[in-house]
Amino acid sequence: MASVITETVPQQSRRQPLPPVVRGLIWATIGFLVVNVLMSYVLDPLAGHPFITNSSVVLGWFAAVVGWLLGVGAWEEIVLPSFGILDRSVVTGTGWRQYFAMSLNHKVVGIQYLVASTGGFFIAGLAAMLMRLELMSPTMWLFPYPGQYLTTVGIHGTIMMFSVGTVALVGGLGNYLIPQMIGSNRSAFPKVSSISVWLVPVGILTVAFSPLLGQWTTGWRGYEPLAQNDANGILFYYLGVFALTMSSFLVSLNLTATILFKRTKGMTWNRIPMFAWGMLVVSLLNIIWLPEIQMTFVLGLLDRLVPLPFFTAVGSNLTYLELFWLFGHPEVYIVVLPALALWMEIMPVMVRKPLFAREWGVIGVIFVMLLSGFVWAHHMFTNMTYAEELPFSFFTEMISIPTGLAYMVVIGTIWKSNFKLTVPSLLILMSMFNFLIGGMTGVFNADPVVDLQLHDTFWVVGHFHFTIIGGMVFTWIAAMYYWLPKFSGRTYNPKLGVLGAIWIFIGFDGAFSLMFLVGMEGMNRWVPVYPSYLQPLNIAISIFAFILGAGFLFNLLHIWWAMKSGPKVEANPWKSKSLEWMTESNPLAENFPVEPVVISGTYDYDVDGVAAIIPNPAG
């Protein structure tokens, strides 16, 4: 057999194939250059023949993305097989190399998503550190020009929202865990996720390098008509966000289909894990709202390229604001719903008690999902009549009720239990505390009378960072510690873990609670200069922010170290009944050689015995 193979593929083994990532970069460069030159010199030349024009850079970018996706593996994984040619051996490689090529293994894809998100988190975090450095003085001292500060704010917000907030828990943990949790060996559409993950680095780098085309001053919201007044950097904002939202959209299609159709025997709707419920509602939110915002950004892009007047001075720029927040508010629930689901997923394991009022937890996440479409205009109270404000104020305050159900479920689960304070449960308690502050300050913002005073101040900045970092990032880190043994078969150092948790808690709560104060004292958003009486508070905020940044870095290094060389642990260290703990810890292994059968709820910790059995293939 071996001799036959050696005879048929001698050339292949002689020539070492290019690494897929490098090939992707080369093909992307070729794609960009060909299309860019075609546009700027042949099809649509401007007087003076500049090399980069509006249209050339946009179409060149699309060609580069196609080249990149084909290069990292779509050529062998998707294009060639559609013509009946199967030649996978060249690209995927073995061992660690599988993480740097397109992969059909849902766990590899999950880790690729997590790594890409973490990269985005630290790039955007660096931008935040630069902003805080600038704001330590009431005058411009770090950035020579105000536009550079605003561009930095925009890069920070855009990368955080579209490559971390929307992606880490859905693309990352969702892809990794959901098939295992519902007893499947694969997601419904492995090729879809294998492509979509490679759009994340594209989007992050496009936004991060947007200043190459010029400054843009709109922040992550791309407000019109400001965007039409911006330099060409705004083009890379539209394009980068397009790549990132497309990635999330594809993942959502895959996860929805996976949860609906790939469940194993006995995994009924009453037994679906809470995290799967979270992924389902979030995916539905993504499927509803991401195409809406993509369409809006395409219109914004056409406004500039063609140009068309949809949102410009002759069009209606309030339409843009409405369309943006119509997506923009569900977006924050896209960020935070997986976190609520993770609280309910992890806590029963920690307290060894069945999940309290599970149905109400499910009702909570579903109603948050439904109500999230009714609240968008509370971002624009300054643009509305009093009569229009009332319904949005009402629904905004209403949404705290289903959100509160998640709190009720978790607190009821902890109630009278043998609660063990571990690093994941500590981080989840911190997350619940911070999200509570974020939610309560949100009630003030939901009230137009107060909001008209607080609008556009640092109070709002404090509020939404408490919901998003407090709610989602703390929970993300909790989940990373909780599933560490699943990722690597190793675990963390408990003392370092507690130190890391307390470290980011102090840094985070110090920095962002002071933002409420500085906001009420008159600190505006979106300006790098401010009256000098605000300087002491700003210096304090910046110092806490640097502590927070270092804390995130500490947790990253600790988790990295634990994965590589932390203490080894047994397969199911938390004694969880959930199905993902029945699989082997090596991400490259198959989940279930034999399909499991679920025989009871995965949160039934009041009874002994397992939740699922592996049927004997013989019997």
Binding site: I5, P17, P19, G93, R97, T139, N229, D230
Partner: protein
């Protein structure tokens, strides 16, 4: 089994190429993002500046000039071709020294140059396309092309400056006057904010 492992090693892609390829792209991108002005300064320092003469292109974009450094020599005949590449913004090009300012609470905005380079210079408009206005101030201007209401010869419109619409272009012929030294150029449109955002450059005029 070992035979199998051997073959896999040969067909696996190279780790070294992977690291070198991806890291070098990141380094090049980051340097392009943060260090482009230092690189061009170093290149100028090494190669020296060429004296511009005859047709000289200046491109305007949001918010910078290409080039942002020029070297002229007194007595050289010049044709300055200024073209606005911005898709959305008007841009002008003033040349001068010192600043007139408008102070406010936060900063001291530069409004225009104090001394106008073009005072007394004979300028011929060779070509004009998409010009929003040309303030002549104290320059002596004649035109080879038909002018319109865009040619503002009256007093009180500020320094000599051609203002181009997006995509607009103008060609000015003149002889470098006897005003050696370093002169600045800049764009002050949109409430003077283009200059504040970095739309500026400098001309070193060498004596004859």
């Amino acid at each position: 089994m070992s035979d199998n492992g051997h073959r896999t090693d040969e067909t696996d892609w190279s780790r070294r190429k992977f690291i070198v390829g991806s890291v070098s792209v990141l380094v090049v991108g980051t340097v392009a993002l943060f260090e482009s002005s230092n690189i061009s300064r170093a290149a100028t320092a090494i190669m020296g500046q060429q004296v511009d003469q005859g047709a000289t292109q200046v491109y305007q974009d949001d918010y910078y000039y290409i080039p942002n450094q020029m070297t002229w020599q007194v007595g050289t005949p010049m044709v300055l071709e200024i073209q606005n590449l911005s898709p959305v913004h008007f841009h002008e090009m003033q040349i001068g020294r010192g600043f007139q300012t408008a102070p406010n609470v936060f900063s001291n905005l530069k409004v225009q140059f104090n001394e106008d380079f073009w005072t007394g210079v004979h300028v011929t408009i060779l070509e004009a396309d998409g010009v929003d206005n040309l303030v002549t101030n104290k320059a002596v201007v004649k035109s080879d092309v038909p002018t319109g209401p865009w040619l503002l010869t009256g007093a009180g419109n500020g320094n000599f400056s051609p203002t181009m619409r997006p995509g607009g272009k103008i060609k000015l012929a003149f002889t470098v006057p006897d005003k050696p030294g370093v002169w600045d150029y800049g764009c002050f449109v949109q409430g003077y904010i283009h200059y504040a955002d970095g739309m500026r450059g400098s001309i070193n005029i060498l004596p004859a």
